[in-house]
């Protein structure tokens, strides 16, 4: 029964879909596939040990953490907040767009400012609603709800497509090792370079979409005059 070998994939799909513990799922899939696929216990241990050691590069984030925490301790987030705070007279959609530019550039250097909890909530959202107030309007509840969604969306899009630009990011390392086990050798710089056009397009798509959406919502909720309502 050749198809029995696919049981590992089934375990991964069903396991993740049912939100079981990720490590448990992968361990189960590995053990079952090894036994069904005829590797035996020794083959399992050897393959597991060998590939884990071969892929230690993916743990490179551990050494990066040596400075990440201390950078935060020394005011990295405050500096980022001041940097984006220099912007004056922008609309809420523009604030989100500018944050996207900043986040993507820093993501390419593997620098994050604390995600939604650490940055969007305390810094970007007050700036966005502040921008609405600065134009003389009282922020509409529905509009703010959408702004929250847009800011989180920008956060995710720029992080996903920005981090692959970092030479030595875990995504590229996983691709490199997967390709290598199939006999294709690649280098990390090429893997990052090939993503540059994709990253730039993703950033532009995000900025244009959220800018236009904000413009449309502003018209809808506050009227085209832009006056008080």
């Amino acid at each position: 029964m050749e198809y029995l070998k696919l049981i590992g994939i089934l375990i991964v799909i069903v396991g993740f879909a049912l939100k079981k513990d990720s490590i448990l799922i992968i361990a189960c899939a590995a053990v079952v596939t090894a036994l069904v696929g005829g590797l035996g216990v020794e083959g399992l241990l050897t393959t597991l040990g060998q590939s884990f050691v071969d892929n230690r590069s993916m743990a490179i984030f551990i050494i990066v953490m040596l400075v990440t925490g201390t950078l935060e301790r020394n005011g990295l987030k405050q500096a980022a907040a001041d940097l984006i705070g220099k912007v004056k007279g922008a609309s809420a959609g523009m604030v989100i767009g500018l944050y996207g530019v900043m986040r993507m550039i820093f993501a390419a250097f593997n620098v994050s400012f604390g995600g939604v909890a650490g940055f969007v909530r305390p810094i970007i959202m007050p700036m966005a609603t502040g921008a609405v107030e600065a134009s003389g309007k009282k922020p509409n509840e529905e509009h703010v709800e959408q702004l929250k969604g847009m800011a989180s969306g920008m956060e995710n899009i720029t992080w996903f497509f920005g981090q692959v630009l970092f030479v030595g990011g875990s995504g590229a390392l996983l691709v490199q090792s997967t390709l290598s086990s199939l006999g294709y050798e690649t280098n990390l710089l090429d893997l990052a370079t090939v993503e540059i056009p994709i990253g730039i397009i993703a950033l532009i798509v995000g900025i244009v979409y959220y800018y236009l959406k904000d413009k449309k919502l502003t018209k809808k909720y506050y009227g085209s005059e832009g006056g008080k309502k």
Binding site: V12, A27, L45, G49, Q50, A59, G75, A108, N156, V175
Partner: protein, 314 residues
Amino acid sequence: MAFFTDPSITIGTKMLEVIYIFMGLMAIYTGVKNLRDKENPSPAGTCIFWSALGIVIAFGRWIPAAANGVIIIIMIIPAILQKVKIGKVSAPTEKEVDGNYKKIGMKIFIPALMIGICAIICALIPSIGALTGCGLGVILSAVILAFYSRDNKPKVFLNDSERLLSSVGPLSMLPMLLASLGAIFTAAGVGDVIAGIVGNVIPAGNVNVGIVVFAIGMMLFTMIMGNAFAAITVMTVGIGAPFVLAYGADPVVVGMVALTCGYCGTLCTPMAANFNIVPVAMLDMKDRMGVIKNQVLPALIMIVVQIVYMIALK
């Protein structure tokens, strides 16, 4: 020792091995610190996990593969039993951070960007390589931080990294485990079976059709699993290699962009709770799908862009 004196091994590889030893020791430090931490609800399990991880990272090269396998199994057990916990957290106070920021200011961006800059520079020097560059960048960054403020002693760096490592917890080695799962899939011949099934559906030899199936498959698989890393291993072995790469397509373009096709799936699924559901709670939004709804259109545009890009550059 023979490894470090072997002239046929590049200096970059040797330096990387030193970096691995250092990383391993950091993980072991995390384990030992938590073992002695009275506030950690599960000191033994936490210590076993981090120490085992540290041993494989630091000394794995010199340990037989099967023995590494055993150590990894030992490492996985406390993780599965939920016995890897966080102990006492010594996060910096707001006052301390503000004080430091007043002193250092915007100059803080220099050490922050140093790691990425070193990685790019060293990537251009083949005998050193990007990863060794990351390590060197970290050292340089730490030196600059210590130069900025005398409070940044080695102990501060170590404890701050322990705090971050502990907060990420066992999920930190998920990518490594997934890569190992991919290797086991390949060794067991899973890819051949999938290729056989898919081969009945899509015409082999048509690279463009293969690319479309690979890209959309990545997106859908990621939506189901909520994790593009889990999807890329399975999909590359099962579809990417036999239907696209086997016909001469560029592995750099197709292999890498497939991952970001998966990210389009991540943008569209509540399964990726960290990114799409947790922010809803953090921002007090009313609509549980409020973040995803704002991401669907960009994700759809990007999947089309990426398919066209892969076909054009393959």
